[in-house]
Symmetry: C2
Subunit: 207 residues, 2 copies
């Protein structure tokens, strides 16, 4: 609460390490990468602003000044790698007959991109343990994905079906990456897409 208003600490004496200024784009990226790694590794509650600052080479007080509280840094760090508007338009709203295959391919390709999986796992871990984050995620999912998709999909119960699709995506991430059960954990995208596509097609393809 108060940490967001905490002023940057002036440095009257020369510091041992010069540190980086969080204002620059490079430093912002470095901080967000450090935050993603920390949240993914330790979960939302145990993640430490101090550790993030240390990894990024940024003074903890400056971190607080520029990114505010831990939950604001968390949201900034987990900023969706793709615009939900684009996902809905390009993935869900294309040819209805192949929507399941597009969703399966999109999700598995997305997770292979650097940094994406860390963000997703941090979010799932945090939502699983912290009601405040579950609430944030609930709001995000509803506002950004479910309502948008429901407006686009001409099917019965569009919200419920979109949420069933999301539940399979979340469970796949849990089973494949968090629990890491084999052979699912090591299965390739090429093996998984044909198995998952009919599931997504069933939820989104309409009767």
């Amino acid at each position: 609460m108060t940490s967001a208003e905490q002023p940057a600490v002036p440095s009257p004496a020369p510091r041992k390490r010069p540190g980086r200024r969080p204002g620059s784009t490079d430093t912002r990226r470095t901080v967000l990468e450090a935050a993603r790694a920390e949240f993914a590794a330790r979960g939302y509650e145990k993640a430490s602003m101090r550790a993030i600052g240390r990894t990024a080479g940024v003074d903890a007080a400056l971190l607080h000044h520029y990114f505010g509280s831990k939950d604001r840094l968390f949201l900034a760090a987990l900023e969706f790698p793709v615009d939900p508007r684009t996902v809905v338009e390009q993935v869900l709203a294309g040819d209805r007959a192949t929507v399941g295959e597009r969703v399966a391919g999109f999700v598995l390709t997305l997770w292979e991109q650097p940094g994406v999986l860390d963000r997703l796992l941090a979010l799932i871990r945090a939502a699983a343990t912290t009601e405040q984050v579950a609430e944030l995620m609930r709001g995000f999912v509803l506002e950004e994905l479910v309502r948008r998709a429901a407006a686009e999909l001409d099917i019965d119960q569009p919200e419920l079906r979109t949420e069933l699709m999301l539940s399979q995506i979340i469970g796949l991430a849990m089973a494949r990456y968090v629990i890491g059960v084999e052979p699912l954990a090591s299965a390739t995208r090429e093996e998984l897409v044909p198995l998952l596509a009919p599931t997504f097609q069933g939820y989104l393809g309409g009767a």
Copy 2:
């Protein structure tokens, strides 16, 4: 490690509360109920043996003596409410044409039974945040469910397909109960079974 060998603390002076003896069946059930509630509410790492003992009215030292360390109490508390052997024989290994509907009906009915959901959510929360629990869960899923099901199911890639089925079950629990996104969270069993059955049928029904 050492807590499992910790001897019961003798009570030379009369205690304020008589406490219960963990040896009796009733007390064992009370302790396991208290443990399930605590693990479900706070997650594996933050759950406290002391709080569990307090809720159950059992001395913390006796708790350690009878149930050993926290991870052993955790496993005892989360003991599967049904025998995995029965699940595989009755749910998976029946008529192949209706296996999807049986799985969907079984899972949603199981979660409505008292105490079951608490166990599942505690397990998911703990696995999401603690590698040690993820490892325990990985072992359990493989030994008790996947190998057993694979031996019973006459389909291609039985392990992978069983794990995809489990991933949908885990994701459904996350989306419906942990994130609690509507309308999925309030949807009835009767609404969900027809939507989920084709997914499970696709994974387990064979080509």
